[in-house]
């Protein structure tokens, strides 16, 4: 039970950690000063949430593990984030598409997590949902602007939605730890969110004059620790300081 809860928390937190790192990569590289700050703000929101989850996970683990160990010192296969969030920052359209496809899920997930029997998780969800509701507003806005913008912006956002679509289905898979936690009234049954998710995403895409991709071929593996090649590079950068200078603080 304790072990399942630990795994369950990582399943939530790793998504935010990896997406936060991706958004953080934009610091100083955003397309304009304003979007640069917006993206790094979002990154910091996600890292803030991650800290609460990992602190709780460290407490559950009950050994000498700290939140930093959990964040920085696992191997690639031990990260259980979905494949969607580790996809690289190809261009701004990709960044917004990735964010939007995750935000919609994240928002719906936190709404349910607020009802968790686990009071710590429900408190983290209640605190985080305000931030995530802004993230969703920001990314939905950009989907509409880019889709309904110029010919070039339309084709870029169309390509990114088409490419990233294949990673959306995994959001609604249940791991073994998920199943145990759902039964305990702690976890969220994400399979129940799926239909509403696709309906809501489709509404925004239509507003953005984009077609909803029809592809039924989906990728999975992240939740089991089987990742795309992009995660290794991301972790190399994320973990560099702790690996090169163990226990360093600043």
């Amino acid at each position: 039970m304790k072990e399942q809860l630990y795994k369950y928390i990582l399943g939530i937190a790793d998504n935010s950690l990896i997406l936060g790192q991706r958004m953080g990569e934009l610091c100083g590289h955003g397309p304009s000063l304003e979007t640069d700050i917006a993206c790094t703000n979002i990154s910091l929101d996600l890292f803030g949430q991650v800290r609460s989850y990992y602190q709780y996970a460290a407490k559950i683990a009950g050994d000498n593990r700290t939140e930093d160990d959990i964040a920085m010192l696992r191997k690639e296969r031990e990260y259980v984030n979905v494949l969607l969030v580790e996809q690289p920052n190809t261009d701004f359209a990709y960044i917004m598409a990735r964010h939007f496809l995750f935000d919609m899920y994240h928002y719906m997930f936190l709404q349910e997590l607020q009802k968790s029997q686990d009071l710590t998780l429900s408190a983290i969800a209640t605190k985080s949902i305000k931030e995530v509701s802004y993230h969703l507003r920001f990314s939905s806005d950009w989907i509409k602007r880019l889709g309904d913008g110029t010919e070039e912006s339309h084709s870029r956002i169309k390509n990114s939605i088409d490419d990233l679509w294949t990673y959306t289905d995994e959001l609604f898979h249940l791991t073994d730890a998920d199943k145990v936690m759902v039964n305990e009234g702690v976890g969220v049954d994400v399979t129940k969110l799926k239909d509403t998710y696709y309906t809501k995403v489709s509404e925004i895409l239509q507003e953005a004059t984009l077609e909803v991709p029809e592809s039924k071929y989906f990728q999975k593996g992240g939740k089991q620790g089987i990742h795309t090649e992009h995660l290794g590079y991301l972790l190399a950068e994320l973990q560099y300081m702790q690996r090169a200078y163990p226990n360093m603080e600043w």
């Binding site: 397309p31 304009s32 304003e34 979007t35 700050i37 917006a38 703000n41 507003r137 806005d141």
Partner: protein, 94 residues
């Protein structure tokens, strides 16, 4: 960006009951984006409870070259400040 987005002026009310004050400016394509950008650029350290944005082109500014005729005449007219009254001690908060 080859073509710059229009410039907007940002006014933030830092607390209820206080007035909106000019905080700075930013670029955005429309009012909605200007509000979101202002939220991210100027209120991320908890500076505000309300934001106004207005496109900079809608602000009419006085010309610094006219400062002489506009503002200097007021400099030697101290009598326009109500400072020449003797206030009774009983009156406080003036």
């Amino acid at each position: 960006m080859k073509k710059n987005w229009p410039l907007w002026e940002v006014f933030v009310r830092s607390k209820n009951g206080l007035e909106h004050r000019h905080f700075g400016s930013l670029h955005a394509v429309d009012a909605e984006m200007a509000l979101e950008n202002a939220r991210d650029v100027y209120t991320r350290r908890n500076e505000g409870v309300s934001i106004w944005v207005v496109e900079s082109k809608h602000i009419t500014a006085s010309n610094p070259e006219h400062n002489g005729e506009l503002f200097e005449p007021a400099q030697d007219k101290v009598y326009r400040h109500p400072t020449f009254y003797n206030l009774p001690d009983e009156i406080k908060h003036m």
